[in-house]
């Protein structure tokens, strides 16, 4: 048993699960439900208490997932980075890699809008239109992020069964 490979795989799977679950939870549950209570005070308090932690949580789990994923590609028997984009396995892994990179940047964008919304609510300087714009962007980016991580997990999980 290759202990290094096993530990890397466990870290990859657990960090990936955090990333996927958090993205889905934020996009499908927390945000729509928090928005349905029309209270700027609740929104401000929630953002103050969770936004930095969310960013840290998502960024760390995403970074750990991608780094360990790259290590796994290079450590997988009979496969290497030169296989990316070639054959069934390489194509699925490449799609997963692109989707996860895109999700990483999309969640970074969502983090930037969250920070703007939090600052806008705290300072009271942002207009209602600006705040509505930040909220709209956050909702869209949240859904895009959730879809991208689902695509990434789906392609990675089925890569070894891909024909070609």
């Amino acid at each position: 048993m290759d202990v290094g490979l096993v530990i890397t795989r466990i870290i990859h799977i657990i960090a990936g699960s955090f990333w996927v679950g958090t993205a889905i939870y934020l996009a499908m549950l927390l945000e729509p439900r928090a928005r349905s209570i029309p209270s700027e005070d609740l929104e401000r308090q929630l953002l103050n208490r969770t936004s930095k932690l969310n960013s840290l949580w998502i960024t760390s789990s995403a970074a750990v997932t991608m780094i360990t994923g790259m290590a796994l590609v290079s450590a997988t028997p009979d496969h290497s980075f030169s296989d990316l984009g070639r054959g069934g396995w390489g194509t699925m892994i490449l799609i997963g890699l692109i989707a996860s990179l895109a999700a990483f940047f999309v969640s970074g964008g969502a983090g930037a809008f969250t920070a703007k919304l939090r600052r806008g609510l705290e300072s009271g300087n942002a207009s209602e239109e600006q705040l509505a714009g930040y909220r709209r962007s956050l909702t869209i980016l949240g859904y895009v992020n959730a879809v991208l991580v689902i695509v990434a997990v789906g392609t990675m999980a089925t890569a070894r069964y891909a024909v070609g």
Partner: protein
């Protein structure tokens, strides 16, 4: 066979990731944040979020467990011979045990949250000292149980991920 296993794997892994990530995020980020926010907003949000949260957590947990069992029967035949006599089997039943226990603990946490939300919903003004104390007790119990459940599913994932390597 390959296509069938690939689909089963997808139906096991996607809900599994949703279950694990949501449980950990709820237990270690959302619930502590709501506890600090306190009434009147936190119980209102929890009451508003409880139903879809339960649908997501129950749905993903049940799908993960059911498709995991189907997949185990498809990849090892006869499964029960492998389950008790191989290291792979030991890791699989340990993972199954942890996931079922974690699911049960998560359900008890959900019930505590529901009781707290019901008290929150019934309030017409600020809570009485007795109601506030009861809500605090239920909230703390829900946070503790949610954390134990979340750790349980993480251990279940680790067992399952280890199974192919032992």
């Amino acid at each position: 066979m390959d296509a069938e296993i690939a689909i089963l794997r997808l139906l096991h892994i996607l809900p599994g990731a949703t279950w694990v990530g949501s449980a950990v995020f709820l237990a270690f980020v959302v619930q502590p944040a709501l506890a600090k926010t306190g009434p009147p907003h936190a119980p209102a949000l929890m009451a508003n979020m409880l139903k879809p949260l339960m649908i997501v957590l129950h749905g993903s947990a049940i799908m993960t467990i059911v498709f995991g069992i189907i997949m185990a029967f498809r990849v090892q035949d006869p499964l029960f011979d492998f389950l008790w006599s191989t290291d792979w089997g030991t890791m699989i039943w340990l993972g199954f045990l942890f996931s079922v226990v974690a699911y049960g603990i998560g359900n008890i946490a959900g019930l505590s949250n529901k009781k707290m939300a019901d008290i929150g919903k019934s309030l017409t003004g600020p809570p009485s000292p007795e109601q506030a104390a009861e809500m605090t007790k239920l909230r703390d119990r829900a946070i503790l149980l949610a954390r134990v459940g979340a750790i349980g599913v993480v251990i279940a994932v680790a067992c399952m991920a280890l199974a192919n390597h032992v």
